[in-house]
Symmetry: C2
């Protein structure tokens, strides 16, 4: 994987967006597209499209452009969406429920294999086709099967404790909805944070400063 060393985060974070637009074009049975046209649709520069794609390989053809379906598949592979990383849901409250119902994890490289809760009323219930278990079963469950990642949908104050247990079980990849700083505590983890309140504050800033331009 010579080229994929040292891909910048800026590029990586744009990949899902390429994948989305290409998937749409593919559904619309568009066969080929030039960097110029794709750039137009995505509202970026054609230069950026070509630079980004060329980080991973020469997927295009001079004089022709890119094959939509081929490029889509390339990016799917690059993103690793064909994986089936086993993930557990920590917290089956409003958030955990919403997220698990909203997303099709299978198409995103994951397989949700279990959910864990402290709320007795929820334990034993189902969420889609996964069972919601008592969080005390965490160790047994994770020892019985290899778990790659945890989706942290519990309140911040409960994260540290649970995180320690998860880390001890060898789980080093986290999708984190809390403000607890996981990678500060364990530097050898891979963490993607979703900070909704930060996002909303940014909207607030922009609304506050709207007419300034």
């Amino acid at each position: 994987m010579s080229k994929s060393d040292s891909i910048s985060m800026s590029v990586i974070r744009r990949l899902p967006r390429y994948y989305r637009f290409l998937s749409e074009l593919d559904e619309q049975r568009v066969e080929r597209i030039s960097s110029t046209k794709l750039a137009q649709i995505m509202n970026v520069t054609a230069s950026q499209v070509r630079q980004d794609l060329n980080c991973f390989g020469g997927f295009g053809q001079q004089g022709y452009g890119y094959s939509v379906s081929q490029l889509k598949n390339e990016i799917r592979h690059i993103l690793g969406l064909d994986n089936s990383f086993k993930a557990i849901l920590i917290g089956a409250g409003n958030f955990g429920t919403a997220v698990s119902k909203h997303l099709d994890f299978n198409k995103l490289g994951f397989e949700l294999v279990g959910g864990f809760e402290i709320d007795r009323d929820k334990i034993g219930g189902m969420l889609g086709d996964i069972v919601i278990r008592d969080e005390s079963e965490l160790e047994d469950f994770c020892s019985a099967q290899h778990v790659d990642a945890a989706f942290m949908c519990i309140p911040r104050q409960n994260v540290e404790q649970t995180l320690e247990r998860l880390y001890k079980l060898g789980i080093k990849c986290y999708w984190n909805f809390s403000h607890f700083d996981i990678s500060a505590k364990y530097s050898d983890t891979v963490v993607e944070n979703v900070h909704l309140s930060d996002n909303l504050m940014t909207l607030c800033y922009r609304m506050t400063n709207m007419e300034s331009k």
Copy 2:
């Protein structure tokens, strides 16, 4: 507001993070902090801290540092969190419910004034202290009171139609959980997107390429 012209998005998106860390320090009764120490805690460079803060004014004091509570308040003002922008929730499904229960909008510059649904079972119910209304009441409701923003928690395929109605009602600020590209359709809008699946794909990429370093 001479200085706040032309603040880059990079800086703006860091503000909520400063605000969070300063709020914590303030709660811990820390009175003053130097850029060096704050940088350590936040895992950034001291240069960046000073540069960022100086976009908005000289809040520090040479030889002393920054007053935590004062700086926190300055950033709160800069972010506009003292506002009370009126917002409506479009879609009171799992997502809308989770978001509205999870966040304290009042502390984030917003006041949630109503929710709208198509699901007859939910209409008439409450979500916290707001009423869930039939989406057909949108026009009446928004004409009766000024609404600043809409939180879009409905599936992508329903967004365009509803968006047209909202835009017609003068709503130009959106917190968007769908993949519909609002600012592409209406360029004079302010939109913050939350693309959960993009985020999860990025996690997948990073997990797939973990050992590469």
